[in-house]
Amino acid sequence: MATSTTSSGGGGTGTQTFKPYRHLKTLKDHENAVSCVKFSNDGTLLASASLDKTLIIWSSATLTLCHRLVGHSEGISDLAWSSDSHYICSASDDHTLRIWDATGGDCVKILRGHDDVVFCVNFNPQSSYIVSGSFDETIKVWDVKTGKCVHTIKGHTMPVTSVHYNRDGTLIISASHDGSCKIWDTRTGNLLKTLIEDKAPAVSFAKFSPNGKFILAATLNDTLKLWNYGSGKFLKIYSGHVNRVYCITSTFSVTNGRYIVSGSEDRCVYIWDLQAKNMIQKLEGHTDTVISVTCHPTENKIASAGLAGDRTVRVWVQDS
């Protein structure tokens, strides 16, 4: 049912032949669009968030449902795992964030403060802070222990689409529909650098590379760019997918070679070679836009989520 086409562009590194990913399982437990999927940092669990107002925690090995987290009064746009894989934080259209205990499946804390839909969320590596971005154009930093908002950063003029901490938690990157991508100092909340400042197209997603030196940024003109934020120049461009409307997440795959993985509005998951920039594989099977992708931290496994016309989470593996 699910086919995958492999395209071999020119100029690959050629040292390893790429073994294509194949479809492993389709998880159909959500009743509305799935907005986000993420593997836990220890790789044992997979969490998905949906517009059906719930989150589901799956066992990553057996792909069976472990918990369904109910409590939000509106749909959920994003989720994040704490570093020890014990807690999940979800960002919802009901203007709140919730911290859930992943083992027990219950809600531990509610973070209130945003004035509009909360769109994106992330823990810092020490998991002592949570950063969230919202349609109210602010970025808020929350203290995990007390649940209080420690900083409110007003740096954008349109909804904030993505927030992420770097490897040692000293920097926050934020991307927004206003076309800008900015880097903030965690301790003081000061603006350190503006990476992109065009009015258009909107920056729909941004995240740091695993070593914190580079930034992967997606813009709503079908483009993904890898930036060196120190020099302020981008080093690589990845294209071939469709991204004009939705804030599609992309990620790095580092378990077996270096790749960029992203969803797309043409219902496929795209995989590019990081260095050569050519598209290596296109995973087909979803029946609507693939809005979110996540890579397992140690195994060659990718999970992807589809919007309302699809409502599934699909898991793909690479045979060794």
Binding site: T146, K154, I183, G189, L191, K213
Partner: protein, 547 residues
């Protein structure tokens, strides 16, 4: 990592009080190796471990047996253990992760300072400097103490066996003697009341070298820099002296043996002084020649570039910062409370000082945002530059426009995974796991707050217009509002939460929202600000800025 975007033009030392920490009455402080945790010993015998990044309490070490004031506090190398010395003559060793006491040893005298052996992650030896006795090495497993020599007498022939559990002679009972380990714990440097630095191999008690200080006044503190290359002494003659360590790190004992190889008689003062001159050489002297203050708790910055010392005068809280070349670069003035302890952050330009009334002040740089941060192609210039336009700049079709393409080779390999080792911690033994952070567990919400507030607050938020008082506090675009959660605020926040209208009142207001009326509109902003109260008193509890 982010060094490339932080402005290098600002000096690297603190300038203002950023925040203060309050918990009981703290007496002494110590950073862990990376500066992520700050341990503070209190008047009631407990120790508070602060998460330095969130400025919240990470752990409290408390045991019923230990209830007298803490005189000093020290971390083990990788942050797993903390050693405290208390006024009831005891030394207590704690395990940080579990928060449990490992051992408690009672000495004959109150130890004023206790230092764990810096060489291993679970040290079994420590150096204790008691109130009126020679410094001693204490074995934490057995409780045995070995006194160290504090002077080399001229008339002595042959080594004298160290006396056990008895105060050694040659020292008046009133002067505490300062001592410290060198970087890897191979030697102990003792500063005695005659103004001499003795280099002692504590394993056999031999004094290998003597370095006399001119003037010969009592040495009050002796401390090494983090990299082990500089030694600082604070003497009664109100001068802080910096010595350069000439011995090779890790290999000191062998080097000393080589140096003293020709001199068989170790007890000959002249020979010891000759060896001493090859161990340490005077580098700089710092003093305040006008006010001639005594110094308290002097120490180095993390990278050894700065020396900081507190003024020991009562009633003032002054911190002097010198660069290693000897220039006084800054005097920080705090509130009018005497300073009792001082520490420089291992990595950042932050200084932490403890005042007599038990508060811990955090001094940091005064951050101003860089204009170059606001647009990708803004650059900061040191001075005005004349702009010389290109030859074809005003041409209709300038040729050089096309050459503006990327300077970057797009085919170059990009490494997204390798992390560079931080040079500051180059001596990390990677096989040892370092304790950098204590896990933060979110404190559970009280269930009623959750249920009732969900409905009422979302309705309030929906109908909230942007004219709410919160948005008035917004600074210019890009500026943050620092709701620093110092513990004083936590208390205030908690108090405010109690004063916040009960859930019933919130519900009532929510109902009023459904039928809008003038009175409820004026109430809405008030309740919204109470519901989101997190900025309360602002981030200083009044009047704590330096001049």
């Amino acid at each position: 990592m982010n060094a490339s975007i932080i402005d290098p033009l600002q000096g690297d030392f603190p300038e203002v009080i950023e925040e203060y920490l309050e918990h009981g009455c703290m007496k002494c402080i110590a950073f862990n190796r990376r500066g992520t945790l700050l341990a503070a010993g209190c008047n009631d015998g407990s120790c508070v471990i602060w998460d330095f990044e969130t400025r919240g309490i990470a752990k409290i070490l408390h045991d019923d047996e230990c209830s007298s004031p803490i005189t000093s506090i020290c971390w083990s190398k990788y942050g797993h253990r903390i050693l405290v010395s208390a006024a009831d003559k005891s030394l207590i060793l704690w395990d940080v992760m579990s928060g449990k006491k490992i051992t408690r040893i009672v000495l004959q005298q109150t130890p004023l300072q206790a230092r764990l052996h810096p060489g291993s992650s679970t040290p079994s030896l420590c150096l204790a400097c008691p109130l009126s006795c020679a410094p001693m090495i204490v074995d934490l497993n057995t409780g045995d103490t070995t006194l160290l020599k504090v002077s080399v007498s001229e008339t002595c022939n042959g080594p004298t066996p160290p006396s056990r559990n008895k105060c050694s002679d040659g020292i008046t009972s009133f002067t505490p003697t300062a001592a410290c380990f060198n970087k890897y714990g191979t030697l102990v440097y003792v500063g005695n009341s005659k103004g001499e630095i003795l280099v002692i191999d504590y394993k056999n008690g031999d004094v290998h070298a003597v370095v006399p200080i001119s003037g010969g006044s009592v040495i009050k503190n002796i401390v090494f820099s983090r990299n082990g290359q500089y030694l600082l002494t604070n003497s009664n003659d109100r001068i802080i002296r910096i010595y350069e360590n000439l011995l090779p790190l890790k290999d000191e004992v062998r080097a000393l043996d080589d140096l003293s190889g020709n001199h068989n008689d170790l007890n000959n003062i002249e020979n010891l002084k000759a060896v001493g001159s090859k161990c340490l050489t005077l580098f700089r002297e710092f003093q305040d020649s006008i006010t001639k203050v005594h110094w308290k708790a002097p120490c180095f910055s993390g990278d050894g570039e700065w020396v900081v010392g507190g003024s020991a005068s009562k009633g003032e809280h002054k911190i002097y910062i010198w660069d290693r070349a000897g220039h006084l670069v800054k005097i920080l003035e705090g509130p009018k409370e005497a300073l009792i302890d001082l520490a420089w952050h291992p990595v950042h330009p932050i200084v932490v000082s403890v005042s007599l009334n038990g508060l811990v002040y955090i001094w940091a740089k005064d951050y101003t945002e860089n204009w170059s941060a606001f647009a990708p192609d803004f650059k900061e210039l040191e001075e005005n530059e004349e702009y010389v336009e290109r030859e074809d700049e005003f041409d209709l079709i300038p040729e050089t426009e096309k050459v503006k393409g990327p300077d970057v080779d797009e085919d170059e390999e990009v490494d997204i995974v390798t992390v560079e080792k931080d040079a500051t911690f180059s001596d990390s033994d990677m096989s040892q796991e370092e304790l950098c952070y204590l896990p933060s567990t979110p404190s559970r919400d009280v269930p009623e707050q959750q249920e009732k507030c969900v409905e009422s607050s979302s309705k309030l938020l929906d109908s909230n217009n942007t004219g709410s008082p919160l948005s008035e506090e917004a600074g210019p675009n890009g500026h943050m509002m620092n709701h620093a959660s110092s513990p004083l605020e936590d208390d205030a926040g908690r108090m405010k939460r109690k004063r916040k209208p009960s859930e019933k009142v919130l519900e009532l207001q929510a109902e009023k929202v459904k039928k809008p009326s003038k009175s409820s509109k004026s109430e809405k902003p008030k309740s919204k600000s109470l519901a989101d109260q997190d900025n309360g008193n602002g981030f200083h509890g009044g009047g704590l800025y330096d001049e």
